[in-house]
Amino acid sequence: MNQFHKIIKNTIFTVSVLIAFFCLSLWVETVFQTYSLIPAIFALAVFLISLITDGYVYGIFSSLLSVLALNFAFTFPYFKFNFSIPENMVSAIIMLIITIISSTLTTKIRQTEKMQAETAKEKMRANLLRAVSHDLRSPLTTIYGSSSVILAQYDDLSKEQLLQLVKGMKEDSQWLIGMVENLLSVTKIDSGSVKLIKTSTVLEELIDAVLVRLKKRYPQQQIKVEIPDDFISIPMDAVLIEQVIVNILENAVQHAEGMTELILRVREKNGIAVFEILDDGCGISKDRIQDIFTGYFEKKEAPADSQKSSMGIGLSVCASIIKAHDGKISAENRPSGGCCFRFELKMEEESDE
């Protein structure tokens, strides 16, 4: 369908340029009473067409048409085709050469641009892949190693040892689950052409889903919830936004040392829902806060213990999810200590559906 659309667009452009320049030539001819300008005008038309349209077809087609038009209307004998005059043939050949050269050039430029964009994307993907594979290794080592030990030495292990090993396996697989869920979110967005499907989501239900999920992993953690009493519904991909809030809360639970209070606050401001996750922990160092949402991709010295670095990807995922929702996300240290993550979503969808 898209291809078809493109062909129509290109054809219309080609035809209208040709007609316009043909008329221009007729006008020039009557005003200046000379034919010497006409080939230059047609050369310009052909050049324009091969510059704007995709591929060679339209350019070549229009240069052939131009040659015919020149031959027919503007060279002796007028309004009659005559292919026996050598200068007509020469002008035709020159026209064709112009077309081919300009088409080649524009195609090349476009290819380079596309390639540059692809390379940037590819590079990010490669970085992500490298970082993730690095992070996946240690939990897998635990799971693989522990299960091998259990299988090989079942009879020699004490009950405590056995439980310890299995507990480690469970913890690390839980970590893996979180990682995989984040990766799934990224691929959902990165597959690009697929638009996010936003559905009206009741704020209260979203928060409920978040808290239920977090409770499963951190049963001890208390979270103070401050949301408006009114019925609020926000268009979003609920699974992805749930992931964002869970990631940020998890980040606080794991990294905000000395935290005594974790607050999840949502308020409404001029048709925008503002989500804030506040903690009173140790805050974020200045050099880290700069690239906290992108740091994962450029991380140079990857720490050997992956558990600590794991949330880097979580925050990067948050940023790309919010970006895909046309929202804003930011992180800052609070004057009173601890930090505040904030993201904003529009409450109304602009005349979609």
């Binding site: 697989s173 689950i177 869920e181 799934l184 959902k188 559905t199 009206s200 989501t201 009741v202 209260e204 239900e205 979203l206 928060i207 409920d208 889903a209 978040v210 808290l211 239920v212 977090l214 409770k215 979270i223 919830v225 949301i227 019925f231 519904s233 609920a238 699974v239 749930e242």
Partner: protein, 235 residues
């Protein structure tokens, strides 16, 4: 022990199938496993299980088709195993007659709770209100004859629609009802504003029952799928 419930697992992944089988058999159920749809269909016909646990992503059969096949002859409870990302798959499976779903990856408790609830619902005639005239769950008490809901001995004032929703959910307690299923049963028709209408009613019900986000006691919300009254069997 011939009184054991027979549970058929249709799942192509050997490891998952093994661990589900282990969970079930150590908890007093008789577990049978099939590796693909064809095999599953055969075992379904020859063993007449009491419950079916079905993986939606089978190599040879579409999970939905399998549900349809079962529903042609039987209304035994079906629990679907689904991947987290597929809200749509869940809704579709529920709408075609699955009773419940468990999202992969899942733990022992979660699976067992769903199995217990599904078997109980089936004992009660799968959502048939006949023979039931009340519902009790913790401090919540519903009297179907009087159309009255009480919470900790005090009456909860619900509108007609709100009561209808609560009653519907309680009859199917433990089972997820999709938005469209609830709308169809409460209003009889659905239009573009129906979901919103349902969501607003649910918000009011939650408020009246004193539910707090993250600590819902009575009605669980399954984001993007539907609602579920928590069954007395669950903890």
């Amino acid at each position: 022990m011939s009184s054991k419930y027979k549970i058929l697992i249709v799942e192509d992944d050997t490891n998952i199938s093994n661990f589900v089988k282990t969970i079930l058999s150590t908890n007093g159920y008789q577990a049978l496993a099939a590796k693909n749809g064809k095999n599953g269909e055969m075992m379904f016909h020859s063993h007449c299980p009491d419950l079916l646990i079905l993986d939606l992503g089978l190599p040879d059969t579409d999970g939905i088709d399998f549900i349809k096949m079962v529903r042609e002859t039987s209304d035994m409870p079906i629990i679907v195993l689904s991947a987290r990302t597929g809200e749509r798959d869940k809704v579709e499976a529920l709408d075609f007659g699955a009773n419940d779903y468990v999202t992969k990856p899942f733990g022992t408790d979660e699976l067992l709770a769903r199995v217990r609830v599904a078997l109980r619902n089936n004992r009660q005639g799968n959502g048939d209100k006949a023979g039931m005239n009340q519902f009790t769950m913790k401090d919540l008490f519903i009297d179907y004859d009087e159309r009255k809901v009480t919470l900790e001995e005090t009456e909860v004032k619900l509108t007609q629609t709100e009561y209808n929703i609560v009653q519907l959910l309680s009859i199917y307690a433990g089972r997820v009802l999709t938005y469209s299923e609830i709308i169809k049963k409460i209003w009889g028709y659905s239009d573009s504003g129906s979901i919103k209408k349902l969501q607003v009613n649910m918000a009011n019900i939650r408020k009246k029952l004193g539910e707090k986000p993250g600590e819902n006691q009575y009605i669980a919300n399954e984001l993007g799928v539907g609602y579920r009254m928590i069954a007395p069997e669950e903890r």
